[in-house]
Symmetry: C2
Subunit: 343 residues, 2 copies
């Protein structure tokens, strides 16, 4: 039809406008705010666009409008199951929208994060999702100078840059320990790896609860900066047994460590929960089908991602949420691995 004359045969807005018998600017409006057109023209443009198979050129749009439809997402790790759920929420939430996700990995480094924020700033994203609340001062300054909606996810804190979706890791850990104490466990160990800010807060919750019950003993705590894994769970639990052979329960900062601990117990013929109770964190799917089923803290990771991205998209379009800080909570999933202690 020799209509599209660009090298690639790409259909431009002008062609659509011509076919619809309107000016290019009107056609342009159709794609951004159809309500603004009279019904007649709206339909004509719609038909023309469909007929020509028109797809807007995002680069041209970004250049002309001086903004992009990209939402930046900073995540500290791809390995972690936790973040894969968050990501799924983010991608599902943004799937049908006009926004596209630009994902980057900070590798748990706040300096890397700062560098990536700098890069993002130059690209003028429409919105941003960042993990955690422990940004450097520099990062914080960049975030505040960035004229777009921002959601911090995974945890809550006193002064959000803008919006926040998370839950209290501290309170969750406190509740875990309180639960164990109420069942008469006394020598409750703590197993932590990676020790990122969220894990630190779980340690705080543990410490608070133990101190309050006068059960605190630093020998009960194993915390290593090495990455977490099931195997590491077994290793750390073995360390703990060495330091404190009289433990009667273990709180693992994540489910992989808990599973590793369970395997180590099986290897050593330690009965769970009769000899040692085990509690994990995140409630990954496998926790319920382990033998015995493992107690854990259910966190709403998928919802966190979905809520965060929805808040950002809404805010970009001027629909600010009523409350800018959302606590998604957690739920203690009590299973046999922390069943009542024999008297």
């Amino acid at each position: 039809m020799a209509r599209a004359r660009t090298s690639s045969g790409k259909v431009r807005l002008t062609e659509v406008a011509k076919l619809a018998g309107v000016s290019p600017i009107t056609a342009s409006r159709f794609f951004r705010n159809p309500e603004a057109l009279s019904p007649g023209k709206r339909e004509r443009v719609e038909n023309a666009a469909r007929q020509l198979g028109y797809v807007p050129d995002l680069a041209a749009r970004a250049l002309a409008s001086r903004r992009t439809e990209v939402i930046g997402v900073l995540i500290p790790s791809f390995t972690n199951n936790v973040f894969s759920d968050v990501l799924r929420g983010i991608y599902d939430g943004s799937g049908e929208s006009r926004y596209s996700i630009q994902l980057v990995n900070t590798h748990y480094s706040i300096l890397q994060e700062e560098k990536l924020l700098q890069l993002f700033k130059a690209q003028r994203p429409a919105g941003l999702v960042v993990t955690g609340i422990n940004q450097t001062d520099e990062s914080r300054a960049i975030l505040e100078s960035m004229n777009c909606p921002i959601v911090q996810i995974m945890e809550l804190g006193p002064d959000p840059v803008d919006m926040m979706v998370g839950f209290s890791h501290n309170a969750a850990a406190f509740e875990v320990i309180s639960h164990l104490i109420s069942l008469n466990f006394k020598r409750i160990g703590f197993l932590g790896a990676r020790m990122d800010p969220r894990v630190q807060r779980r340690l705080e919750g543990y410490t608070d609860a133990m101190k309050r019950a006068s059960l605190y003993d630093p020998r009960l705590i194993i915390a290593t900066p090495v990455p977490t894994s099931v195997t590491m769970g077994g290793t750390l639990f073995a360390d703990l047994l060495m330091k404190a052979p009289d433990i009667d329960a273990v709180f693992c900062v994540n489910d992989d460590l808990a599973l590793g601990t369970l395997f180590e117990c099986q290897r050593r013929q330690i009965q769970v929960p009769e000899d040692v109770a085990i509690v994990g964190f995140n409630d990954l799917e496998y926790m319920a089908s382990a033998v015995p089923p493992l107690t854990s803290v259910r966190t709403n990771r998928y919802d966190m991602g979905k809520t965060a991205i929805t808040m950002v998209m809404d805010a970009i379009e001027g629909r600010r949420p009523a409350t800018s800080v959302i606590d998604l909570g957690y739920e203690l999933m009590i299973r046999r691995s922390s069943a009542a202690r024999r008297a």
Copy 2:
């Protein structure tokens, strides 16, 4: 210093050029191909850019050059551990480059994939990474019309669209079953969930090996389209026991199913491997620390991602690989769960 006059205070190429005392086009060249400048000007532009904190506007560049520096990546699932490793490889591989990754989720739907490819086509990506080789004819046509390097990952097949990085799922499964048969296992069950193309190929490998040894029996096969999970592993294994109570081994198409099977065995006091041997697939980290350690097929997921993205980036820049199809292989990790059968 009132130099940047754009509303946002953004520094433009023109400013850099002015400060460096060169024409804008020369400054532009500096960022794309510094070799083309004389050393003197190169340094002057470099200094000017640093001094002004210049960052190129990607939208303007994309519009003017009619190409982007975006590499599209189509993945069928974010939940799956397998893909999180692949993604990590992709992001690590592209991290320091000028390319950015545009990730989309096909949710294991080839129609969704087709739609997403259409979208990508309109954005003229610099390269593309797609999962698998089972595209629709439409998708295939789009891919072929797309004038950019493309890598298909996860498996190998006879006619690559362009490049390929993967391994033979069929051969891997065949080797698993041959291994079990060599240990005198005879009633070897198959547990499959999701049944995506890769899993189908593992079933083919299983079937081939069983038939060749005259051990094939359709009652030994459990295959369901529902998503995979540890819990589902237990459920499917229970089904299998119902259909074929005399099984002496199980090949699970992934490690989650294998772990679920192990748990189900523990629940039913079935000894592994004395009563039933278990083999998984992918060799996730936890397989080695389970009790007993679980046999699995190690696949090079991280390398697959990293290799794929490197091939795409190289090809974009004209460095075509010597061979366009790369077989990353696999390795049978034999552990106690498939130890030799008592005679």
